[in-house]
């Protein structure tokens, strides 16, 4: 039985180009960590035999929908789960095709770490750079570059080292601080869960060991107090007649009873009376806890307001600079208004200016083509109907991110990261 009181959660995303062996790697992690059940394995064995394969194709474990099985590709983000005695893992498995930038952005938005796969025979290719840049844009703090298919290059150390050097040269442009390299064979299991005997020259850890031990505690912001009010709790029962609690999830900082706080947008100040949970009041609350805050004073507060400290406020504004990733088949309509969701606040917005598009393979600016289409990434300025309370995305993922929604179809059409 695992000690769930000590276990942490690690969310990671996996990316690689077609045929880099990503599904096989995930299948291998699930299989070697004993997260695969007999009935699942039996189904995969049966399918492998049917396809005439002489090995068990672990990639079949993760292909989901009928449409994908027919096309043998992954078309959407799929979530996988496994755990070891040390951690629980959530994998956002994203397809690597060029047209699926949007899926990678989606998968990366909740991840602490990215595994990027490189085929040892091909080395660092355009897609490797694109995946890394997206991870960097989405502020994933840790990247593990897995140099896969080492079995196909005779476990050659020089080939591995060349790829590491190439990647390091490229990665100097990224904002990711923590990068690791591991030579693996997902197909045969080398250095995935078990240490490879065929690469005794490699002295680093296995992939699973790294996933279990990498330090992720500091990925949340525990400095700037931000509490977007999500829902107002008013029991109006005899027992709790005057109770008025502000429910929400801490987006940053550490809140304590007695703290002087300010409410945005009104600017009123008060003190925290209690921080309540079902189990009773708590002495402190930090991201990503869901709690209910009560205040000493009766102030009119509703969903979309934000509770902060008066000496440390977010930016309040209506003209906002963003890195925007377009997610919809329908391109940007420069004259349209879009619905906008940011923390728990709704507003409307227009895209005032598209400054430049970003070539996601090189990070170069494209100034002469400003049509934003599906999978394009651009720097833009928007104007909102009401002020938002925000931080830069690099400071706080929760208060620095927003989405745009088409007013007609109500589909999510863009993801924005505030600069």
């Amino acid at each position: 039985m695992i000690d769930y009181k000590k276990n942490e959660l690690l969310r990671f995303t996996t990316a690689g180009s077609v045929d880099d062996g990503k599904s096989t790697l995930i299948g291998r992690l699930l299989y070697d960590s004993k997260s695969i059940f007999e009935d699942q394995l039996a189904a995969v064995k049966k399918s492998s035999e049917y396809k005439g394969l002489d090995y068990v194709d672990l990639s079949l474990l993760t292909d989901g929908l009928k449409a994908e099985r027919e096309q043998s590709i992954t078309i959407d983000v799929a979530y996988r789960y496994f755990s070891t005695p040390k951690r629980k893992f959530i994998i956002a498995d994203t397809p690597g095709h060029i047209q699926y930038t949007r899926n990678m952005v989606t998968g990366a938005s909740t991840a602490n770490l990215a595994i990027i796969l490189v085929d040892a025979r091909h080395g660092v290719v355009e897609q490797t750079c694109r995946h890394s840049l997206i991870a960097s844009l989405l502020k994933i703090n840790h990247i593990i570059l897995c140099i896969n298919k080492m079995d196909l290059v005779n476990y050659d150390r020089e080939i591995y080292e060349k790829i590491v050097e190439d990647y390091k040269a490229f990665a100097s442009k990224l904002q990711v601080k923590d990068i690791h390299f591991i030579p693996i064979s997902a197909l045969l299991g080398d250095n995935v869960v078990d240490r490879s005997e065929r690469m005794d020259w490699y002295e680093g850890s296995t992939l699973l060991y790294l996933l279990e031990n990498i330090h992720i505690g500091s990925d949340n912001n525990h400095i700037d107090c931000r509490f977007p009010v999500q829902y107002v709790i008013r029991p109006q029962s005899d027992l709790h007649h005057d109770y008025r609690g502000y429910a929400g999830r801490i987006a940053g900082g550490v809140f304590k009873p007695g703290d002087e706080v300010m409410i945005l947008p009104s600017g009123f100040t008060s003190k925290i009376k209690s921080i309540d949970t079902y189990e009773g009041p708590v002495e402190e609350a930090f991201a990503p806890m869901s709690v209910t805050i009560t205040l000493e004073d009766d102030i009119d507060i509703s969903r979309g307001d934000m509770i902060v400290r008066s000496h440390n406020q977010p930016v309040t504004g209506q003209d906002i600079d963003l890195i925007l990733c377009w997610l919809n088949n329908k391109p940007v309509n420069p004259s349209a208004k879009y619905l906008l969701m940011h923390t728990t606040k709704d507003a409307r917005a227009i895209i005032k200016e598209i400054n430049y598009k970003i070539d996601i393979n090189t990070l170069h600016r494209i100034e002469d083509d400003k049509d934003l289409k599906m999978n394009d990434i651009a720097r833009v300025r928007i104007r909102t109907t009401q002020p938002l309370f925000y931080d830069s995305y690099s400071r706080n993922r929760y208060t620095g991110s927003l989405i745009l929604i088409d007013e007609g179809t109500k589909e999510t059409v863009a993801a924005g990261m505030i600069i």
Partner: protein, 301 residues
């Protein structure tokens, strides 16, 4: 610096509570679908936590196939009383009587598929715009790509190719007239997480989950409970077995496992060494490779 880390169950709990509160805030007429199984029990438990000290601000809906384990109904009624919330029951029998659904016949007849009709009718009758369910992504491969907020068109159908991308913790519940949402607050939980949480929170469960003596029979790889709702073949002899259930659904398709597990700790131990998934005991999933996906498209949970 102090250690500001949540253990993983607390983090999953915080995420689910956030999602449940989003539903209450973004929709006008949300509801929680309650099957009597452990996942919907957890959902009710999390909902209570989310709005404490107020009551849960939405009703529970139970789709009653008429083929329930009696224990499920007892548990349901006690829970409703304790939570002080409204219960809406949709009866599959009503759908059959109205000619909206046709009873299956034969040995593998089950009302499981018919539930979809009753569910959609009940949601429409009560104008539910967001129905929360306890489905998890680890259950079945068609569920691995399901969103927390899953958009349904005006026919209640799920289009897997046209789902909204879901980024960070921003959940887009905007919709046009006639459309509605299914919401899955415990998407990121696994079967083991659910059991560990039940253990941590000491949540009472229906006795069916624990070992008991029951008259059962074997069909293919499954052990089914003997009941008036299943037609047994001549070769299928009933005998007393020491069993428990890993999932609880309609009596006609929920398989039992041989087990001595008498407590949540026993069950956790049993699952950690078990090599078969919990849906491996569900006859409804074995109909074909994409059985779940096809049912989901039509509006099944």
């Amino acid at each position: 610096m102090e250690n500001y880390n949540l253990n993983y169950l607390k983090e999953l709990e915080a995420e689910s509570i956030f999602v449940i509160r989003e539903v209450a805030a973004q929709f006008e007429r949300p509801a929680l679908l309650f099957s009597g199984g452990k996942d919907s029990i957890i959902l009710a438990h999390l909902s209570r936590k989310a709005f404490h000290p107020a009551k849960i601000p939405f009703p529970l809906i139970h789709i009653d196939t008429g083929h329930n384990f009696p224990d499920t109904l007892t548990y349901r009624d006690e829970l409703i009383k304790e939570l002080g919330v409204r219960l809406i029951v949709g009866y599959v029998q009503d759908s059959i009587d109205k000619g909206r659904a046709k009873e299956e016949t034969g040995y593998n007849a089950s009302r499981n598929m018919l539930q979809t009709v009753t569910l959609l009718d009940t949601l429409e009758e009560h104008k539910i715009d967001a129905a929360m369910g306890g489905a998890r992504r680890d259950e079945e491969k068609a569920r691995a790509k399901e969103r927390f907020f899953s958009h349904r068109d005006e026919f209640g159908q799920w289009d897997p190719k046209n789902q909204r991308p879901e980024l960070w913790n921003i959940f887009n519940g905007k919709k046009n007239h006639g459309e509605h949402f299914r919401v899955f607050p415990i998407s990121n939980w696994t079967e083991m997480d659910v059991w560990n949480y039940i253990h941590m929170e000491n949540i009472p469960l229906p006795v069916l989950y624990f070992t008991h003596q029951r008259l059962c029979f074997r069909r293919d790889d499954t052990i089914l409970a003997h009941s008036e709702f299943i037609k047994q073949k001549e070769s299928e002899n009933s005998e007393m077995m020491q069993v428990r259930f890993r999932t609880i659904g309609d009596m006609s398709c929920t398989g039992a496992v041989l087990s001595e597990a008498n407590s949540v700790e026993d069950i956790i131990k049993e699952i950690s060494i078990s090599r078969v998934t919990e849906r491996g005991t569900r006859a409804d999933d074995k109909r074909s490779d994409s059985a779940m996906e096809d049912r989901k498209k039509e509006g099944y949970f």
